[in-house]
Amino acid sequence: MSISRRQFLKLTATAGGAAALSQLGFDLSPVRAYAYELYTKPAKVTHSVCCYCAVGCGLLVFTDKRTGRAINIEGDPEHPINEGTLCPKGSSIWQTTEASPRVTKVLYRAPHSDKWEEKSWAWALPRIAAKVKAVRDSSFELKNDKGQTVNRTRALTSLGSAAIDNEEGWLYQAMLRALGLVYIDSHARICHSSTVGALAESFGRGAMTNHWIDMKNSDVILIIGSNAAENHPISFKWITRAMERGATLVHIDPRFTRTSAKADIHAHIRSGSDIAFFGGMIKYIIDNKLYQTPYVQDNTNASLVLGEAYSFHDGLFAGFDPASRSYDRKAWSYATGENGAPREDPTLSDPRCVMQLLGAHYARYDLDTVSGLTGVPRDQLENIYKTFAATGRADKAGTMLYAMGQTQHTVGVQNIRAMAIAQLLLGNIGIAGGGVNALRGESNVQGTTDVALIAEILPGYLATPRASQASLAAYNKANTPISHDPKSANWWGNFPKYAASYLKAVYDKADLETAYAWHPKLEDVPVTDYTWLNIFERMQAGEFKGAFVWGQNPAAGGANAGKNRRAMANLDFMIVANLFHNESSDFWRGPGMNPKNIKTEVFFLPACMSVEKSGSVANSGRWLQWRHQGPKPLGESKPDGDIMLALWREIRSLYAKQGGAFPDPVLGLYADYLTDGAYDAEKVARRVNGTFLKDTTVGGKAFKAGQQVPSFIMLTDDGSTAAGCWLYTGYYIDEGNQAARRDRSQTPAQANIGLFPKWTWSWPANRRILYNRASVDQSGQPLDPSRAVIAWDGAKWEGDVPDGGWKPDEKYPFIMLLEGRGHLFGPGRQDGPFPEHYEPLESPLASHPLSSQRVNPTALVFPEEPMAVRDPRFPYVCTTFRLTETWQSNTMTRQTGWLRECQPQGFCEISRELGDLLGVRGGDLVALDSVRGTVYVIAMVTERVRPFTIMGETVHQVGLPWAFGWMQPGGGRTDSANLLSPSVGDPNTGIPETKAFMVNLRRA
């Protein structure tokens, strides 16, 4: 008699791995071979993409054919980025999907109620629609007080979401804007808006320049303000490969983390001193002539000469107006040459050329000053500069990786600008193994930035119309730059085609001028009036009646979370879409809240897991990757797209039946995206990509109405193409869904640097490394043949898709910038053309040695917001961070038992020295106080944190993860670290300064 395979499997499974042979009663010794059956064998396997960070790892989802439920989820071995591997978050998606307390019914919290009630979709959606309509109708503004057409409502706002697919995000913004919303914001704001502001200014596009696999091509990897090993674990697959080739890993961070543990060099840096650090690096590169001269001459604006008005004195650039705390940027204009283009000095010796002014600007950033501000010892600083600057040669590649430690500051944009300047000087942009690489933290935060779930742009980075732009022609004129330099491609010269195609994608039946008129307009004020911090300021003041909080948790994840929670109580209603309860959906029953006093009605709409739906997400490296549905949505949960369309049907039918304020855009929005009654992501994808609306001939090629637009080169400005996001044109074409491609094949040159051009699709135009024309010489030959990205074979380009298909040397490589060359001097930002060190708004220093401007003079501040500046009550610098095992505000991961058991409770990392000083030991409960609030967490006393010597004084820094809100199961008294962080922001994008503020720490 033998043991059946099935019997054996069952026994092993029930016994959790222990082979249960005893009951069989046979002599099993000596042992013999058994066959073991896989419990996944009869399952259906689908491909998806991880729902957590923006590495974009491929998943295999095994769904039981009988029950329709997932039984196992693991890494996709074919996927070129993760190669079958997953971090613990990815490894636990099965549990999040199938074995967690998901909300699977619509929930309703009545005004002043202390409980949720279960409701049906049929009950909730018409009520929500009626409330939205009532607020919209009563608040709708056709004209502003200047009499300009604005067609908007300022009584509704939407927050979120990077957790939805591209198609859903695009559809959602279209719906919001058809309703007239202008206060639209999302994760993109608080994570990497400063990336967009800085990289678009520096290089032309606001995104990670290279991609994950490309990290293997680097010789020196500098990670700053990022904990890549913990927060983007699969990045270390590629970083490890680079190190095995001999690359050096340098990590600069206030704390010693799991990233530091693998680094060759780790430097502790005081939070908020990054520009001092990079200013010192720029000075070191220039002083020691370590820049690549031909690259700088050919590919940057180093040779351009500034006009007479430009100056810099004691921390202020020319053009500053103290009353408005803003600059008149005309003072930063170039001197104009004979042809109308900027005057140039190719020798870089004119004292008014950018290169000379750059050197003069950073002359103050000597090693001693930088060491005094950053806390990095002088010797170590010099060693790091030397190590990284060694990549300033054609045959070396250096990359910089960063995340929130750089972005979330009142100088967030300029932090990243400083990195961009150093990388341009070293010739590290456009090459394999180079770049300024923004590590994005949400599976689709890149995508929902691209499709514009933020106020100031429409999909594809088209500026949102302003009240002063009364006609489409005026709008186009304001946004279409004109170049007088024949070598400048000036790609934004195509703006009118992209704007027209967008308008036709949303309002296909309207003529272009009407469609433009329907679109809501922003006032001609700084964009920060419409962004996160100001949204909560207005919410607190009761100016919003209703809010959508879609897949986001501002009551834990937003700066000054206590203010956000109080503000929510001033809403009449809030519509939450999520998978789990969180501090936002349940704010009315949180600490310090009395539900009886809170009027806000809350509708909780249960969204489904990413593995339960189809659609595309854009990873940090700009790859659009298609997810395929595995199991069906659990219970009554729905894909976000279905929720949106269902809600839209209700709203639209109310307007169709009853009329109301300015119904035309509501009735006119193209929303035919159903198949068999369900949301069809592929139909939206077709629209976002673009379709010919009529028979059209473009560039000598004839297309029929209904054909997909194959490339954004074919878009037109006359209304014959409808394309929701020009940047995505090419991803869903007549040949099929390019984002679903799974072809690993590549040419030997492509394989050499790991491009995988036939695996999914990368924006723009399937280009994998941006600005790659900077990697070749004037004859089109690679500057570094061992790492060629593109090469001209005499007739065509090989390798990657070139950044502009012209012949070598016909055009400058930075085609999105007016000058065609990378911006060492960046005249387009609010706070200066060169990054300048300012202290965080809260800091241990009352002054600093670089200028008498203590803080960014243009920072976004709110008058009533108190600040702790060299305040003995709040003596310690504090920063916040994330952990491998938690994701963002922990809404999903804390409900995933295997992850929660790894990181069960909030904690604070403090040095042994501070622990000794305060008598605090590891495991003790401690309180952190800031001007704004108090948080109780467990102390983690560690050698990995240490005191700094800042300007000759000892300064302690502490840090705590922000993942632990009051809803943490078993979290004790813990609450969000963002109760401590301030409502101050970057003047360019409004990103809050959540990475450097002041606290006290005491035993609790």
Binding site: G90, T240, Q905
Partner: protein, 218 residues
């Protein structure tokens, strides 16, 4: 010559992401455990019936440089497993050895063994008793996956190339080659008990700095 399978675990590459720790639980569908923050990243605090793979964290100084050392612990699947030798004195079916892979497998019948005696027999302090069933538990090399040509769940998921699995000879070659490379940077690097176990750790620093039981100190 030793046949069957082996792991090679290169600790110099480990980032302590704990993908392995969770992937093990995922494949085996273990329940989660209630834990608390004890002032360290390590959690759960110990191996157990629902934790066959545990990343241990150790903060230390080596030559006055701060090091954070990571040890993805698991059963070593000894070539001559002392646990089995001990168990065989009572019941030769309690702990068995799979002949094709060399996996050491605990059966339900381990519930009738003296758990303390078996645990003490293990030079690496791996076996843990399941209080619910009384049976002894530990890593089973994902024998169901491996006998179907798949990698163990922990190896499959490892992002950085820390965890490897394959034929014994191949793993030994890989381990020796990697040791040679690593010694250029870390002269003190060692392959831990490579001749005795099927799970060969490459420790970058003195094994005692990672965990008392990384190396068989007997």
């Amino acid at each position: 010559m030793v046949t069957g399978k082996s792991f090679f675990i290169d600790q110099s590459r480990c980032t302590a992401c704990r993908g392995c720790q969770v992937a093990c639980k995922q494949w085996k569908k273990f329940p989660w455990i209630n834990t608390v923050q004890m002032g360290s990243y390590q959690n759960p605090q110990d191996l157990g019936p629902n934790t066959f793979k545990l990343v241990r964290f150790s903060e230390t100084r080596v030559d006055n440089v701060v090091r954070w050392l990571f040890f993805p612990e698991q059963c070593r699947h000894c070539l001559d497993p002392p646990c089995k030798m001990t168990a065989d004195m009572y019941d030769r079916q309690a702990i068995i050895k799979d002949p094709s892979t060399g996996a050491v497998l605990y059966t339900e019948r381990t519930r009738d063994l003296n758990a303390r005696e078996i645990r003490e027999a293990c030079p690496y302090d791996i076996p843990r008793q399941d209080p619910a069933t009384g049976a002894l538990t530990k890593c089973n090399m994902c024998i169901d996956r491996v006998s179907n040509g798949l990698l163990p769940a922990c190896v499959k998921t490892c992002p950085t190339g820390t965890m490897h699995f394959g034929d014994r000879a191949e793993m030994m070659d890989m381990a020796r080659k990697r040791l040679t490379e690593l010694r250029q940077k870390r002269p003190q690097a060692t392959l831990v008990d490579a001749q005795d176990v099927r799970v060969i750790f490459l420790a970058e620093h003195d094994p005692r700095l990672y965990h008392a039981y990384l190396r068989d100190e007997m």
